[in-house]
């Protein structure tokens, strides 16, 4: 995981080779199904996603990534299990607190949805470079200027963090102390955050000029250097996925499956 390529893990699995739009549509389908269909579907979805991740050889990376929502999932389970209002069916008591069936059920469903959403997103992010996804969207009419903002912001974040480190050193060299009372530390934030923000804003002028000099946004009809692969099978996959999304919405609305 590098700062500029995010979660991306290099590889050539079948997931890697899919067109980014196809993967985006797949992600949309999974999210729709997870939130609109009855909870039992979550188990099927989770199983399918794990299978897909395993077949792409990314199971270990995914397991490590599960650290990220771990606290969130725990909170969802605990808060709902112990504190669900109006719940009467007690399951177990741990000292002064007790777990209720309604709370636990609700907590499991919510947590399950998050797990599915997270796994699907992480599978997408592991196998797709932001640059490719944005270029694919550009080809379909998305604004390349917005894509530019996203990509350059992503690259700028680590720069800014490095800069924050240098600023910390520079201000300490002027006697800024980071120890002491909480109020002192809070006031120390200003000479630290101030140069980060102001320094970057001052750069905006020169960066704007540099972009103008390279003709950014000057002419319509921008072409693209980056070529994003679109294997023939992806077209069918996309049609299939869109159909599946529509089906999910219909099922949810008509309540055919409860």
């Amino acid at each position: 995981m590098s700062a500029t390529t995010g979660y991306f893990v290099a590889g050539s699995s079948w997931l890697h080779r899919r067109n980014p739009i196809t993967k985006l549509l797949g992600l949309a389908f999974i999210l729709l199904a997870a939130f609109l269909l009855p909870p039992i579907v979550l188990i099927v979805l989770a199983g399918a996603i794990v299978l897909a991740i395993w077949s792409a050889g990314l199971l270990r990376s995914a397991a490590r990534a599960m650290r990220i929502p771990a606290l969130l999932l725990l909170s969802i389970l605990v808060v709902n299990a112990f504190f669900f209002p109006g719940a009467t069916d007690k399951l177990a008591s741990l000292g002064p607190l007790s777990i209720t069936v309604e709370g636990l059920t609700f907590g499991l469903i919510s947590a399950g949805r998050i797990v599915v959403a997270f796994l699907a997103s992480i599978a997408f992010l592991f196998t797709t470079l932001a640059d490719d996804m944005l270029e694919a969207l550009n080809a379909r009419g998305a604004s390349y200027r917005i894509s530019f903002v996203i990509l350059s912001a992503v690259q700028m974040v680590p720069r800014m963090q490095e800069r924050a480190g240098s600023i910390l050193e520079a201000q300490q060299a002027r006697g800024l102390s980071l120890e002491g009372s909480f109020g002192r530390r809070l006031r120390a934030l200003i000479p630290l955050i101030g140069p980060v923000i102001l320094g970057s804003l001052v750069d905006v002028r020169e960066r704007t000029f540099a972009l103008e000099a390279r003709g950014f946004g000057a002419r319509p009809g921008r072409t693209a250097y980056r070529v994003v692969a679109d294997p023939p099978i992806d077209r069918w996959l996309r049609i299939l996925t869109i159909g599946a999304c529509v089906a999910v919405v219909v099922i949810a609305l008509t309540g055919i499956v409860r």
Partner: protein, 572 residues
Amino acid sequence: MTTASLLEIDDLAVGYPGRSAAALDGVTLHVRAGEQVGVTGRTGAGKSTLALSAAGFLPRVVRAKLGGRVTIDGIDAATAAPAALLGIVGIVFATPANQLSASKLTVREELAFGLENLGVARADMDEQIDATLVRLGIAHLGEREPFALSGGEQQRVAIASIVAMGTRILVLDEPTAQLDPAGTIAVAELLAELSRGGSAVLCVEHDPNVLGRMDRCLVLDAARTVALDRPGTALAAAESAVELRAPTLVRLALAAGLDPAGAFDEPALAAALLARRAPTTAATASVDPDPPASPSWAPVRDRDPVHVAIEDLVHRYPTGIDAVRGISLTIEPGESVAILGENGSGKTTLVKHLNGLLRPAAGRVLLDGDPTDRRSVADLAGSVGFVFQNPDEQLFERSVEREVGFGPRNLGFPASTVAASVAGGLAAVGLTDQRATNPYDLDLSRRKLVALAGILAMDPAVLVLDEPTTGQDADGIAMVGAVVEAYRAAGRSVVAITHDMEFAARFGRIVIMRSGVVVADGPPREVFSPAHRELLASTGLTPPPAARIAALAGLEEVPLDVPDLLAALDRR
């Protein structure tokens, strides 16, 4: 046969809204294809405005009132459509990282960025990119990540990105201000290559190493043209007209009664000096004017000087590589030490141990016999003042006055002392009249002086400067030099990291580092002597101009400035 001018600036006058003084007042300059023209002058003379005008940015991108005419390859810049100048003229600025689009993963794609905006067909892109990479000698950087490159490499990529668009007129605004000597030479050679290929180059610069290679040089002062001629001639004329201190080689030629036009051809200059028969007369000797008188700094409080001792210092990076490999050094009160070395030699790493920013893996640093390891950085700031290279890492207050007072307030000075220190610091750098200005409203060279004033106001016993002269004009460099002298005269120590050899020559002692060890340590005359020539070359450094000429003339002595050199020649 005269080739057509690609860039024609005729009687250009520029005024910015809200400012009464004109930024440019009737400047005329024609740049032909295959020609390199340098632009120089004091800070605020109008150089950047000229560069922006030449790139067609006025009034379209920057609001300004224009008089006169700028014609870029036959197109009138004032009425041109935004897209019309693309692929014809391009501009590169001083900060390498700001030139990158920051949205591409490799250098190849970075070059493609301009082509994408031009709407060039994908099939044609690779050819243009390859050709540019080869021509500019950066083909080996093709797959590298742009932000991971060094400053010099990034600047070359920035220039390449413009050239890849087919641009034949290249405007540059202080492109080498933040580069080390190796990067500066690389850029200068790149510009020469481009002009040989038929491009027109307009380059704003302070560095004589770059200006000396240009075909012509325009000197501006207070929005007007002072001189426009071959570099040596123009700079000589500027010195007599507006007292803009000329580079050493030019002053040497003038003092020796030679034609300054040939000043930058060092072997020829040396030969001419040897061939010269007339001894230096009193009149020609006075051609070396003193640096502009700057109010010297005086200490506000009484404090004892501090003795610095570094013992067997080793610094290890987390990767396991030793940046500093067992260095022992002492600095007495009243000494001024310049530390030289290439990028990566460990000089900044070494110096950061003095105020605790870095801690040693082995060895120790002693201030007056006390080891620094127990003391925090903020605590050490009272004894060791560190001026960082980039002032924008420190500035955050609304006014210069409050900014300079930040350090003293942190150190707990009483209010009256704070006021006195701030006044003293501002006076030393000549910014007393800017005390109410927002620091970010000043240009970079003056912001650096604000940062310096801020540390001076803290009254440290040891003053450490990291590249104090980059981006400064001659007056600014002289100001910094005067501060160093005043500090030393007050019995305190100064340590400076620099790659400006002439500035270093004014220090009492020079330490040269290479790969984490000290390879030379002594007074300038010893370090820059012909006996050390190979050693110096192995560290990527060259002696200051006066010493170089002396070596070319076969002299034994190591003169450090013009009068020295002339005296040595006379003695021969």
